[in-house]
Amino acid sequence: MLTVFMTKAKAKIEHLGDSGVDIVESSGRLGVFLFNTLSRLWMYRFPLEETIKQLLFIGARTVPLILISGLFTGMVIALQFYDTLIRFGSVDLLGAAVAMSLIRELGPVMAALMVIARVGSATCAEIGIMRNEQQFDALDCMAIDSYHYVMLPRLLAAIVSVPLLTAMFDTFGIGGGYIVGVLIHGVSDGAFLVGMADTIVWNDVWMGIVKSFLFGLVIMSVCLSKGFYLHIEQKQSGAVGVSQATTQAVVLSAVLMLFVDYIVSSLML
């Protein structure tokens, strides 16, 4: 009985070691991938045409989703803050509270989550299928650099798009807060707007910009590298491999994004 227990315990510990090695290898690959991709910025000409195409996919086509989710997020935050602030007779602070929470925190995080859901998963699946169908081998054989032609435009487009999408999310969120606070619950619009303008300082906006820039970088590099290294990291090939890589990419990019969020907040507050 004891031997069986010992064997099982040993197997578990060994498995733990394997997982540790996998995590270290995966992190190393992500670092190498990011370096290789960014190094193409000075090795080749700027991939303008491809970057514009990706800006359309990652940025412009995500706008409707961002506007709708931003509006409802602002509305629900305003509702929650209104319910809390009215108990303390501080309802005049509603505009400042809504704007502050959106600009510093909720805007970058929610916009990034929307980008992961709409763009990150699709990008990882697309890159994974390209790997499965030997399209990267074909690019290599045509002497076309995969990092420059496929990866760099997507990464740059994400880095540019996520801050812009975050700004739109914030704007529509504040609009949603205005609708709930001023139009539905009768808070004074002067108090709402002036309170907001008096409270928000440049540092709050700057924090949102830094966060969303880093979120774009983290999300896209994780999703691209998970698809690109599909043949190395996934035990199963084909559709199952693509599906597993996509799930891992979505989960990992969301967790890393929240980790970066905490680090930036703790450094800038």
């Binding site: 697309e126 299928i129 390209m130 169908e133 030997q134 399209q135 081998d137 074909a138 290599d140 054989c141 045509m142 002497a143 076309i144 032609y149």
Partner: protein, 267 residues
């Protein structure tokens, strides 16, 4: 390291592994300029691995591969990029980019490696499409093409830069007999019209006998024979005769080993 003037490809003592498993076991192999060389062998014989090493997509355990006087194993990125512009590769499934039209796929190498204007590139693309009997298909997406058309589109992309050397992976696999014959004729036409050296990896006997100047047959990671079609047909090697006459391998089965394999799952 340089290959002799006569040979465009020279592979010496190539040993490769996937993890602990040895795939190629000291392959020596050379291809003359202007010839059509067919590499044959059953599944797992190492023919696709040999092809991937010649394309510098994999790094061998040991040995050397010299293509057009370039040592591809030790070449730096720049040298390899230059060499690859002289090579064309047609992949088994076409490997076309699904987000682009057929025409955009085919003109991609020209857009990247030449300074030709868009009008000239369009004309050259249409010329290659005509050659592959795909005229008028340039605006379709790859998903709208049949298997044979995908292979021909992949071939059009592989030859758009008029390469000296063309690699073709399994041209006949999964095609109906008529389309397979059309592709064989296309390969012959390309060699004659453009004086290319062509390496074809296939397991289709009929196709190999029709197009090959010489055939190399691989078994279990080693070259069993290299010779002309007649030399292959007249080979006394039982494995070659089994392959030609489509006979199953006569494997000796040890009863004890078989029982051990079934009960333990290990060899």
């Amino acid at each position: 390291m340089t290959s002799s003037n006569k040979n465009i490809i020279e592979v010496n003592n190539l040993v490769t592994h996937y993890g602990d498993r040895q795939i190629l076991n000291g392959i020596d192999f050379s291809v003359e300029k202007g010839e059509i060389r067919v590499i044959m062998g059953g599944s797992g014989s190492g023919k696709s691995t040999l092809l991937n090493h010649m394309l510098a997509l994999l790094t061998p355990t040991s040995g050397s591969i010299v293509i057009d006087n370039v040592d591809v194993v030790n070449a730096n990125r720049k040298t390899l990029l230059k060499l690859r512009q002289k090579m064309g590769v047609a992949f088994q499934g076409g490997a076309l980019f699904s987000s682009m039209t057929v025409g955009e796929n085919i003109k991609l190498p020209l857009q990247h490696h030449t300074k030709l204007d868009e009008h000239t590139i369009d004309i050259m693309t249409r010329l290659k499409l005509e050659l592959m009997n795909l005229a008028g298909f340039e605006d379709l997406m790859p998903s709208e093409l049949s298997g044979g058309m995908l292979k021909r589109a992949g071939l059009a992309r592989a030859v758009i830069m008029d390469p000296k050397l063309l690699f073709f992976d399994e041209p006949s696999a999964g095609l109906d007999p008529v389309t397979a014959v059309e592709l064989d004729e296309l390969i012959l036409k390309l060699r004659d019209a453009m004086n290319m050296t062509i390496i074809v990896v296939t397991h289709e006997l009929e196709s190999a006998f029709k197009i090959a100047d010489r055939i190399t047959v691989l078994f279990d990671g080693e070259i069993a024979i290299t010779g002309t079609v007649d030399e292959i047909k007249n080979s006394k090697d039982v494995r070659i005769q089994n392959m030609i006459n489509r006979r199953a391998r006569d494997e000796h089965l040890d009863a004890d080993e078989y029982i051990k394999r079934l009960t333990t799952g290990k060899n």
